[in-house]
């Protein structure tokens, strides 16, 4: 019980920290950001109505003499109502709508690829760790080469080989633009076809980390006494490996999975850039390029909240798979 209360408390603090960070970053910048940004926006021929200025001021602070903490509470209040302002780059769409459109793409692609990579890495790591010292084990350092390659470089080379040269996969985008979006087979198969290569690149570049971590934990676990006991009990090897060794060795990987989610999201931004995928990462980049600060901050918030939420879920799950976390002292 205490474990869950503490975890919830922690995530509330983390959420608050992220919101506050988001509030203060623009205000720490020199000069009056609102004027500067509006000027920039006007240069690009953007629409500058009073509502835009208002939303900028709510987000970025104004020199209207309103005390900082007042602005801070207005900001928190707006967030509580789900009001993230107006996206100037997609005027007059609301930020929340823009995010709502692109979020499912990212969650689908990156979520599936990451889970796949995690599962693959853990299973392979368990097998390699169980048979340590065998020829399989000597392949482990090779997987780190894949991890040390800059991800986008690997992805671009994959695109060159599999899309441009071999023509197995489409070059980019999330689906065939000629099709209308909808829940029909034609569209879904197009989405799958377009998503396979990006997913593959994510798996290839991240599986080595999971594999190595799991393999090392497996090697440590095998020298535990309960493994010896299990062998003395005459259990079958397969059962010892899964129920006794891997079951314990996977715990740090699960905890590590939570921590690495932030890294995963970061990776997705680059993935989406390489493949021109219509997800939230490419939205964030285009927001930066178009100086759409409301959208930029909105997306940062959504990403942060999503990562925090996923972390919370994994932490609660961890409490379920490791009975020891539930007791304290």
């Amino acid at each position: 019980m205490r474990y869950y209360v503490r975890k919830l408390g922690f995530y509330l603090v983390a959420l608050w920290a992220a919101l506050t960070l988001n509030f203060f970053i623009p205000r720490m910048m020199p000069g009056n950001p609102v004027d500067a940004l509006l000027g920039k926006l006007q240069q690009r021929g953007g629409q500058v109505g009073p509502e835009v200025r208002e939303s900028f001021e709510a987000l970025l602070g104004s020199d209207s003499g309103e005390p900082l903490w007042n602005q801070y509470f207005t900001y928190l209040g707006n967030l509580a109502r789900g009001d993230l302002g107006i996206a100037t780059s997609a005027f007059p769409a609301k930020v929340s709508d823009v995010i709502g459109q692109s979020l499912p793409w990212t969650v689908g692609l990156v979520g599936i690829a990451t889970l796949l990579s995690f599962a693959l890495g853990v299973v392979l790591g368990a097998v390699v760790g169980w048979k340590r010292g065998s020829w399989l084990d000597h392949l482990v350092p090779a997987t780190t080469v894949l991890s040390a390659v800059p991800y986008f470089w690997l992805a671009l080379i994959f695109v060159l080989i599999f899309s441009s040269q071999l023509g197995w996969f489409p070059l980019n985008h999330g689906y065939d633009v000629a099709l209308s979006t909808g829940w029909n087979w034609e569209f879904i198969s197009s989405v799958i076809e377009h998503g396979t290569l990006p997913a593959l690149t994510i798996v290839v570049s991240s599986v080595g980390g999971w594999l190595l971590g799991m393999r090392n934990m497996m090697v440590s676990t095998i020298s535990e006494d309960y493994i010896l006991t299990a062998q003395a009990k005459g259990l079958r090897n397969r059962r010892i490996m899964s129920r006794y060794a891997a079951r314990n060795a996977v715990l740090p990987s699960v905890a590590g999975f939570a921590i690495s989610l932030g890294f995963v999201v970061s990776g997705s931004i680059i993935t989406e850039q390489v493949f021109s995928y219509p997800g939230i990462g490419s939205r964030l980049l285009s927001a930066v390029q178009n100086s759409d600060y409301a959208l930029m901050q909105g997306i940062f918030l959504v990403i942060t909240v999503a990562v925090l939420g996923a972390n919370l879920v994994i932490d609660l799950l961890y409490g379920a798979i490791d009975p020891r976390t539930r007791v304290e002292n």
Binding site: M1, R2, V5, E328, N329
Partner: protein, 308 residues
Amino acid sequence: MTTLEVRDLVKDYPIRSGLRRSTLRAVNHVSFTLTPGRTVALVGESGSGKSTVAKTIARLEKPTGGRIVATKEDGTPVRDREYRDHVQMVFQDPFASLNPFHTIEHHLARPLRLHGRARSAEETRRGVAQLLERVNLTPAEDMAPRRPHELSGGQRQRVAIARALAPGAQVVIADEPVSMLDVSIRLGVLNLLARLQREDNLAVLYITHDLATARHFSDDILVMYRGRVVERGPADEVILNPRHSYTQLLAKAAPNPDERGRSLADSPGAITREDLGRGFDHTTGSWYEFDRPVSVPLQGAGPEVARS
């Protein structure tokens, strides 16, 4: 010569279970005095609070209540700043109490310097050599540059004893000093400790779970159970003629080949309910009452209490 007096020592640890907080009283009104040239043994099972007493005397823990006062030969109390010149400790596990990164010399030179027993490099070197010779680690110049992993358990414990002597301490707390060592070298280490005690007229607190060495190594024995001293007195009296049912239980439970005929299947006895609320002092030959009885242990976690 230094005398150390422990008076009414109380130590509480906070425990959290669920959202409730409570305290565990690890040491409950313990008093005794360590005098030069004499050894007091503190005997008890794990969880009896004997190691907590050691840690509070070594000032690794702050007592919740009571006083620990060291008095110098001239009758003046030892001030806080010089406390560690007078009171030192030998730890249980010689594999853990020496830093694997540092040489033996480092372990002995630091206390010599810290406590002003050596000022120059030459003095330090001589001091280290002297200490090593006193604990039979010779040749000293060969031992000093070694690292802990190059020494056996018994040798390490000798280094730990030398370290405790380095500041010129008059009071030595030995927390289970031989329980981690191989059996055949235990007596050697205890005999060494006894010799050093004679030579320097040290006051020693010997903490152990082993009744037999406690009896032979010390002058007085205090038996602790759940934070309380339940029986105290001269060593032979307490062991050969135990009065408290807990001490009787301990004595019966210990393997004793002299009584090989007895049936192991017999119950070694139990603590009587009456004894949970009192302790026996052999020097006065009388029982003393606790203000509150000792709490009954969880089922299966310790010796059983007779259900009357």
